[in-house]
Amino acid sequence: MEALTSLLGGFAVAIQPMNLMWAFVGTLLGTAIGVLPGIGPALTIALLLPVTSYIDATGAFIMFAGIFYGAMYGGSTTSILLNAPGESGSMMTALEGNKMAKNGRGAAALATAAVGSFVAGTIATIGLTFLAPPIAELAFIFGPEDYFALMILAFTSVAVVMGTSRVRGFISLFIGIALGTIGIDQATGIFRLTFGVRELADGVDLSVVLVSMFAIGETFYVASRYSKTPPAINPVAGGAWMTKDDWKRSWKPWIRGTFLGFPIGALPAGGSEIPTFLSYFMERKLSRKPEEFGHGAIEGVAGPEAANNASAAGVLVPLLTLGLPTSATAAIMLAAFQNYGLQPGPLLFINSGDLVWGLIASLYIGNIMLLILNLPLVGLWVRLLLIPRPYLYAGIIIFALVGIWGVSQSVVHLITMLAVGVLGYVMRVYDFPIAPVLIGLILGPMAEVQLRRALAIGQSDPLVLVSTPISATMIALAVAVFVVPLIMRRFQPGAPEPDDNPVMGDQR
C-alpha cells in the first residue's frame, strides 16, 4: 500500500502545529463564508492569494482546503433555519431541513447535516487518497451526449418528485429553463429575451434568483399569513438532538449521497448541484416514509448535504491528478499552485509528494475540526429561531438586499429580486415547488450547450444522444422516472392520482 505510507508521511506534515493552525483558520473562515449568502470560497481564496508570497506552500494549501471544505459545511445552516440557502449546493437541504426546523427539529436537521458532511467528507477524502487516478479518467469518458443525458435525468427526476403534482413540477422547471435563456447566447452571441436592457445581457444572475426565490418569497409568504397562524410551537423544544431513529434513517443517505457526489464532482461539468438534486430524488424514492417528504424528512437533509460535501472532494481529483480546474475555486487553487512554481498534474505527486500528501492528510484533519466546530454551535444557531418573526424576517430582507446590492450595485438586480420574490410568493400560495425553477435556471443553459455540441459532433444525427452506454442508460432512467409511475397506476386502480392531489399545504 504505497498510498498508505505516503498518507502517513502526509499526516506527519499536517500535524505540525503551524499547519494545524492554518487548517483551523481555514475551516473557521470557510464556515463563516458558507453561512453568508453570495460570498463563496472562490472569492475568499482569491482575496487570500497574496499570502502565498509569505507563507510556505503546504500551509497555504492546507488553509485553502479548509476554506473550501468549511464553506460546504456552513451553507446548510441558513438553509435549514431560515429557508435561505446562500449557494446553490445547499438549496436541496433547505427543502426538508427548513420543514424540520419549523416542526421544532432544527437541531436534529443541523446535526444530521454536520455529521453527514463529516462522513461524506471523510469517505470522499479516502476516495481521493486511493482512487484519484481512475476517478480522474471519468473526465475523458464523459462526452457532451453523456452530460446532456445526465441533465435530462436531473430535470425529469426533480420535476416528477417535487411539489404536489408533476404538472406543477414541470411548469416550475420550464419557468427556470425560460429564465436561463435570457442573455447573450453562448454559441452565437445573439441577444435573447433581453428587450434592450443591457444589464440582462449577462443573463439573470443565479444568486439573485436563489436569494429572491427563497428568502424574499418566504418573507412575503410569512408576512401574508402572519395574523392567521396559530401561536408557533417552541422551535427549540422537542427532539432537540438526533434520536436513535434519526441516526438509523440518516446513515444510508449519507453513504448514498457520498457515492453520488464524489464522482459527479470530479467531472468537469459536474459541480455540486446535480448530485444534490439526484440525491434528494433518490432518498425520496427509497424512503420507507415517502409521505414525510415535503414535511421534514430527515433523509432529505442527510443525503443532499453529504452529496454536496463529497462533490467538493471530487473537484480536487482532476485538479491534483490532471491539472484541470473544473470550478472557479479549483481555478484559483491552480493559480496558487502556479504561484509556487508547481504544475498540478500527473507529475505533482512525484515532484511535490510532501505537499500533496500533507494537503490530503489535512483534509482529514480539517473534517474532524469542522465537526468539532459545528456540533456545539448547533444549539446556538437554533436559538436564532426564538427571535420574534417580524424582526427575524425584516433582518433576512435587509441581509438579502444588502448582499445582492453589495456584489453588483445594479438597480436591475434589485428590480429582478422584487419580481422574482413576488413570483416565489405566488408559487408558494398556489403550491408550485420552487426548487425546479432554480434547477432549470442552473442546468438549462448547460444542457443547451452540451446538446448543441453533441449534435454538431454527431453531424445532426439525433441518435448520437443515446449513442454511448452512459447516455443511453441515463435517458432510459429519465424516461422510466416519468413513465413508470403512470404505468403502475394503471395496474393499481386503487392508487391515488398523483396529478390530482387535493392537499393544499405550503409544500415546496
Binding site: F140, A201, P268, S327, A335, G406
Partner: protein, 316 residues
C-alpha cells in the same frame, strides 16, 4: 455583513502585504484555466512579486461568445472605474465581429499587448491523422466527419481552422467547428476522443501531450517551438500562420491618470525578472506594445480579421 466579511478577508490579506489600498477588479472573459484566465492572473502575480502593485486583485471569469459576454459585463459594471482592467486578445476582436456585439473595444481604454501564445493542432493519441497532410486529406474528403474543437466561435482557433480548410481545398462553409468556453474543456474532450481535432494554445496542450494523452501534430505560428516535436503548418505545405496575442484593456472612461498609472505598472512589470520567469514557464513569447501603439495595432488587427472572417464566410 457580507461586506464585513469581505473586509475581514481583505484585512487578513493586508496583514501580509505592505501597502494599504483597494484590490484591482480583473475580468477574464474566458473560463477558468484557459488563456484569458492566465492573462488576467499572471501579470498581477508578477507585479506582486516585483513589488509593483501589491494590493491584490479580484478576478471574475465569464466565458463564452468569443469573450463578448465577459466584455459586456466588464463594460456594464465598471464605467469610469480606474481600478478595473480586463484581459483580452486576438480572439476577442473576432468575437466582437462575428457576434455583432453592441459593445466593442471602442467602449474601453486599451492599455498593453503583452504576449503571443503559439497555437497548436492536436489529435487523440491513436488517431488515424498523424500529420498535417493527413488532416488536410481528411478535411478534403469529408469535412463534416472531422469535428474540430477549439475556443469561442470566431476566435483565432476558429480562424485557424477555417484557414486550414481553405488551404486544404475543402469547403469552408461546411466546417464542423465546436466552440468551447476554455482550453481545459477542449483538452478533456480531445483526450477522450469526443472530437477528432483540437486547436488551442501550446500551453494548454503541453501537460497532457507530455503525459501521452494527446498528440500535437502541428504548430500554427511562423516558427517551430522549442521542445515540441511538431512542424509548422507552413513547413507541411499549408500556408496558414495565425498568432494569438493577448493583452490588457482598461474600464470604459478610465481617467488619464488611471491609464498612465496602469501603463507605468505594466512597463515596470515588463522589465521585471518575475515576468520573465512567467514567460518561460508558460512558453509565451514577449509581444509588449503599449499605449497609442497598441491602439493603432488594434485598429489594424480588426481590419485584418474582418477580411479573413469575411473571406471564410464567418462575417457577412
Amino acid at each position: 455583513m457580507k461586506n464585513f466579511l469581505a473586509y475581514g478577508a481583505l484585512a487578513l490579506s493586508m496583514m501580509a502585504t505592505p501597502a494599504l489600498a483597494e484590490p484591482a477588479d480583473v475580468m477574464a472573459p474566458g473560463g477558468p484555466g484557459g488563456g484569458y484566465d492566465a492573462m488576467a492572473r499572471l501579470p498581477f502575480q508578477a507585479m506582486r512579486e516585483a513589488g509593483i502593485f501589491t494590493d491584490g486583485a479580484q478576478f471574475t471569469n465569464r466565458g463564452g461568445a468569443g469573450g463578448t459576454i465577459g466584455l459586456a459585463e466588464f463594460v456594464n459594471k465598471n464605467e469610469g472605474n480606474d481600478n478595473a482592467v480586463m484581459s483580452m486578445g486576438a480572439i476577442l476582436i473576432g468575437g466582437i465581429l462575428i457576434n455583432n456585439s453592441p459593445i466593442t473595444l471602442d467602449d474601453t481604454v486599451p492599455l498593453v499587448r503583452l504576449i503571443s501564445d503559439t497555437g497548436a493542432i492536436a489529435v487523440p493519441p491513436d488517431s488515424d491523422i498523424k500529420t498535417p497532410q493527413d488532416l488536410a486529406a481528411a478535411l478534403k474528403e469529408n469535412i463534416g466527419a472531422v469535428p474540430i474543437g477549439g475556443g469561442s466561435a470566431g476566435g483565432v482557433d476558429h480562424i485557424a481552422a477555417a484557414l486550414l480548410v481553405k488551404a486544404a481545398g475543402g469547403d469552408v462553409a461546411k466546417l464542423n467547428y465546436i466552440p468551447y468556453p476554455s482550453g481545459a474543456d477542449v483538452v478533456t474532450n480531445l483526450a477522450g476522443a469526443k472530437i477528432k481535432v483540437g486547436i488551442s494554445g501550446i500551453s494548454e496542450f503541453k501537460p497532457l501531450a507530455e503525459a501521452g494523452r494527446i498528440r500535437i501534430i502541428a504548430v500554427t505560428g511562423e516558427e517551430r517551438i522549442e521542445g515540441i516535436d511538431a512542424p509548422t503548418l507552413k513547413e507541411a505545405g499549408l500556408d496558414v500562420v495565425v498568432s494569438n496575442w493577448r493583452g490588457i484593456i482598461g474600464a470604459p472612461d478610465m481617467s488619464d491618470e488611471g491609464r498612465k498609472m496602469w501603463l507605468d505598472r505594466f512597463a515596470k512589470m515588463h522589465e521585471s525578472e518575475a515576468w520573465k520567469k512567467i514567460l518561460t514557464q508558460q512558453g509565451w513569447e514577449d509581444a509588449y506594445l503599449a499605449g497609442d501603439d497598441f491602439v493603432s495595432f488594434l485598429e489594424e488587427e480588426a481590419e485584418r480579421q474582418e477580411e479573413i472572417l469575411k473571406s471564410v464566410g464567418l462575417v457577412k
